[in-house]
Symmetry: C2
Subunit: 351 residues, 2 copies
DNA sequence: CCTGCAAGAGAAAACCTTTTCCCAACTAAG
DNA sequence: CTTAGTTGGGAAAAGGTTTTCTCTTGCAGG
């Protein structure tokens, strides 16, 4: 009815057919022109390109996917709704994939088996090219079976059957970083306050802690296991500084390596309350480098960062190469941690 | 070569064609049987269904989408990588949509215009049914233009042009909740410590704070604006309890309503340090109900919760109805907050 | 016995793009 | 002038599903 020649309010997308018609060629030629395939006069190619440009043509990804059997889409499964762990991981994955034109379906499965299956089915229906599973805890995995799915699967910050492909942080290495940092600063009576025994990382870090102390010939105090909370940090300080101290000859610690930043915060607050200066009397190092906590402690907390975003990036890139047909060694890859030095340990080694 | 009759390691997905062949019917009939369409003997229908079941047939969502021009996919745009705000929102959205078979593309655009455009284009190419935009701050929106996209757009916890559809928290209502709670508990000298003036919510909450005090005939102390940090909480306590206090006749506050939980934590710590008891001498209420902070304060913090997950749910459902062709009134919908009572204000009103 | 109708099922188009093959026309060589 | 080769471009199939239309068969009514 009306002569609608306005620049089209982007109602329904313009198809290749329309471009071809307007340029006076067949859809085949149009496709080849836009993809740089086929042979044709430079003039023809340019004319088609211009037409496509002018019409705002964008190829329908669904049709492409159907044909190529590749959707440029991956699924990300997590059970960490509010998580400070899986979020950086996600961010890294997304970073790695966006440049390649790959989009990410985020699916939070909580810890619900049914929900997990639902999401996995949905992903498979939508023909994701691959799946990345992550979680809030390395030593637990998602309530869902990802074997024999017909698409590649990668695990990030979560540990599956041993012949899967997984990326996790090197917790032992991270712990070494912390303890060796204390050592370099001249601290000699180093304590370790950490989370519950049910976490695998607790043992990995505690063992590394013992190893370093032994290597250096320092007294090993048995790690204090508790919860991941500030309250436990408070309590642990009581145990460390009140009790008649064991083997080491009654001497109080001059450094505390904590299993996470919340414990560290509790420790710092408790130390201050009993008149001990941080870092002057006691140095403190946390774990996780949870910025919002680490920077709110007084003084700001030196902490071990697990490089989760990098871990996510690796996972994403590896998945992509798997999708591309490159084989990949099964097994668990541990990625190094990094020590973020703030002010809770005294001056940096070469300050 | 080999007789492969094993239950198929799910290599390449089974198609409708194969089901039809095995059941001895055409693909048309097979399709109709599985979708409950068309007319056929109950026996035929059942046979086809069984065959599909046995083969583990799942319709290719890409093909369906292509045909239906509906992908059962929505895009979620955010700039809040590590956010405690957008994460609950996402969770609510996802919750609302998963039951309807809709998957969510999560795209973090940081504050990068180029990245935003990249993601939006990718979404459009993948033929998302709609887009939800969220953010970390109500009064800022994403660095990307979402008008005239050809798909419905909903905003959640972020404020766009006034004739868009948006869901935000009712900050004024939340503030009223807090101040009225103090009032019911008999607190009469209520202070307000909040964030920087550049945030719209600061003004909304401050005005509500003033309104309630005026309604109740209580003295209004001018809100203290600062940063969103614990440190500011400390500092504010100094100002409130050291200075010669203004109009109200030199009396110190018996309640502090804080703009977020971190400020509240700083306030509580500072009060304790100067020997003031919480809640006995001073009551404290926070905002955001950030569990990890609220529960780490001593005593645990009463806080205003913005119901972000519910907000996400509403956004998701509204988007869906929009996609379904239902019209929706443009404008901003404010969703109520809720007060989560812990122990920082004294006994609950009817305790 | 013929007509009309309903039931059951299939053929084919449609969705949109890519790619393989094929064809026509033109050029150059013999 | 014929043949071979090249160039520019199109037809058609493929990808998997849904839906409309058509066709065949069987049965009832006249």
């Amino acid at each position: 009815m009306a002569s609608d020649t306005s620049p089209a309010p982007a109602k329904n997308p313009v198809t290749l057919r329309e471009v071809a018609a307007l340029a006076g060629v067949s859809v085949a030629t149009a496709s080849k022109a836009l993809n740089g395939q086929g042979r044709m006069t430079a003039e023809t190619r340019e004319r088609i390109r211009e037409t496509a440009q002018r019409l705002g043509f964008r190829p329908n990804s669904l049709a492409q996917s159907l044909l190529r059997r590749r959707s440029f889409t991956v699924g990300l499964l997590t059970n960490d709704t509010y998580g400070r762990f899986s979020l950086p991981v996600m961010s890294g994955i997304s970073d790695a994939l966006v440049d390649k034109g790959v989009s990410v379906f985020l699916c939070n499965v909580e810890d619900d088996q049914r929900l997990g299956q639902l999401h996995v089915d949905a992903m498979l229906d939508k023909r994701v090219d691959g799946i990345i599973a992550t979680g809030k805890r390395i030593d637990r995995h998602l309530p869902v079976d990802l074997s024999n799915l017909g698409v590649p699967v990668i695990y990030a910050f979560t540990q599956p059957d041993p012949d899967a492909i997984a990326f996790v942080s090197d917790d032992a290495g991270g712990a070494r970083l912390a303890v060796e940092h204390f050592w370099r600063l001249g601290r000699r009576r180093i304590a370790h306050v950490t989370g519950p025994a049910s976490f695998a990382v607790v043992h990995a870090r505690a063992q590394a802690y013992r190893d370093v102390l032994t290597e250096k010939g320092l007294p090993v105090m048995e790690p204090l296991l508790g919860s991941w909370s500030e309250a436990w940090g408070h309590e642990a300080v009581k145990k460390l500084f009140d009790g008649k101290l064991s083997k080491s000859g009654g001497e109080k610690p001059d450094a505390v390596f904590c299993g996470n930043d919340q414990i560290a915060r509790g420790v710092i607050d408790a130390l201050r309350e009993r008149g001990l200066g941080v870092p002057d009397d006691v140095g403190v190092i946390g774990f996780d480098n949870w910025q919002i906590v680490a920077e709110a402690t007084r003084p700001p907390l030196t902490s071990v960062d697990m490089n989760l975003a990098a871990l996510g990036r690796e996972a994403g890139l590896t998945l992509l190469s798997l999708v591309g047909g490159q084989p990949a060694e099964p097994g668990i890859r541990k990625l190094p941690c990094r020590l973020v030095v703030r002010q809770s340990c005294g001056r940096p080694p070469d300050g």
